[in-house]
Symmetry: C2
Subunit: 298 residues, 2 copies
């Protein structure tokens, strides 16, 4: 482990597709991400640790993450993905800076996919690494299916209701597995045949029995546990009568601005908390607080 810092990782898509460029990227100053399974190692400064590619086992299968200036950055495909608990995932996400989180996110999703795609899902034959690790090819010449890394779109949404007293209310829910007292924005996978807007409406209806309108996109985040694209939205609800779906949520309810503010500001375990700043849910909730704190229309 050496004191190697990656400044800006350029995915350099053209390198993946060109065997000679790929070979050049793997020579000279090339580096690889140090992992135990899928968990990163850290250097003395608390950043994700890299090592010279020349130190990697000769038989290791690798994926090309991109170029950092003139040097190629790689990661090695592990034999199995580790069983990192949600707890350690939360720790990791909170611990890494934005650049490290982005590089690690890409590597983790890609490596996890390799472990889950060792066989062809169409014919059951083995698959082999191609295009610098951004593709796997079925080794059965009669099938020859090509497999690509998976990214699963998930909608996550703040839902606002004018409230009976005219004070705006925010819908938050909690899953049984959340830390005690934590509430968050509802979320769910986009299904085949759906738009983003339709997925938001369906999820809110399924989980809380509410009809929404005026779905608006707010922002997105990559979430590499294992490979989600979090699509953050906001929607309006006209009738606030919640029916919680107990298969999905332990509780769902309306919170006032002051209740949400308290949860956001709370230090230590208060009665109600919201997700920490590394989660897009935190920023969707913060945006709602900011937007409803003025007289301006949202």
């Amino acid at each position: 482990m050496t004191d190697i810092k990656v400044l800006r990782l350029d995915r350099a898509d053209h390198v993946r597709n060109d065997p000679s460029l790929l070979a050049a990227a793997a020579s000279d100053g090339a580096i690889f991400l140090l992992l135990d399974g899928l968990t990163p190692r850290f250097d003395a400064a608390g950043r994700i640790a890299w090592s010279r590619l020349s130190n990697a086992p000769a038989d290791a299968e690798r994926v090309f993450l991109g170029m950092d200036g003139g040097r190629g950055c790689f990661a090695l495909i592990p034999q199995t993905s580790d069983g990192a608990s949600m707890r350690s995932v939360r720790d990791l996400a909170g611990q890494l800076d934005a650049g490290d989180f982005s590089a690690y996110s890409m590597a983790r999703s890609l490596l996890d996919w390799h472990v889950r795609q060792r066989f062809c899902s169409r014919c059951g034959f083995t698959t082999t690494v191609a295009k610098g690790g951004w593709q796997r090819n079925c080794a059965n010449s009669k099938c020859a299916a090509v497999h690509y890394p998976r990214t699963d779109p998930v909608v996550i949404m703040t839902v606002e209701w004018a409230g009976e007293g005219g004070e705006p209310q925010l819908l938050l829910g909690r899953q049984a597995g959340f830390p005690p007292g934590m509430y968050s924005a509802l979320a769910g996978f986009v299904e085949p045949g759906e738009t983003i807007e339709a997925a938001v409406a369906r999820e809110v209806h399924e989980e809380a029995g509410l009809a929404v309108r005026d779905v608006r996109y707010i922002s997105s985040q990559s979430w590499p546990f294992p490979s989600q694209l979090m699509i953050g939205c906001h929607a309006i609800c006209d009738d606030g009568a919640i029916t919680t779906n107990s298969d999905e949520l332990e509780d769902a309810r309306w919170f006032s601005r002051s209740q949400v503010s308290e949860a956001m500001l709370g230090n230590g375990p208060g009665p109600v908390s919201v997700p920490p700043t590394y989660a897009i849910a935190h920023w969707l909730i913060a945006r709602w607080l900011a937007a409803t704190g003025t007289c301006a229309p949202q």
Copy 2:
């Protein structure tokens, strides 16, 4: 084939997870979508055709599409996905009304996924249908991996440049496989570790060598060939010097409002055309024309 119309397909997620509800949905008036491979059959009115589930082969594996009022709607998993050409895909998309396209999109993506997921990608063992066709389970008890349908997020974007003469210009490109003269918005898959906004910037840079800023989400569309979520965006470019990536595009260039208007209005094969109204690209281009046609800031 009978004169069955599906009015509104509710995905009814709770039915998938409840074997008794699923069995009830498959009884009585249940229907299934009539397909040849993955290509729909049409009734006399030109709508996608359905038949009574009681007419389906007894050994057919089926997926639950949802409820239409009180009756369950299903589709049968084919042995192979057909090799529908892009030409027939375009014909289909233009031919179906919005409700039919949505139902067919869901069915097509789901069935295609079943054909491609007959084997466990982790261990190579066979998989079996679960949860009404919304899941496949590895039959190897030592692996027991669970597989979910795949939806691949794709960004597609209009890019605007102020132009040297101060007249707004729109970036459009053409792939070698497009119909002669057709230009469209650039597009590409969101990769692991990326946000929507980062994917837009990367794709425009990769394909046209341009830097963009102020990426904005516009709208989304489901595109079931095989299973894309099209995420439509708009971005601004400050330096219009294009470098076309010939691996991805045959050409990319700037078009003025009047050139784009002519392409949009053109009947028959003019020198330049844009995608037809069933494609989200059409609506992104139309929105740009509308937005730049007034004095209002975009």
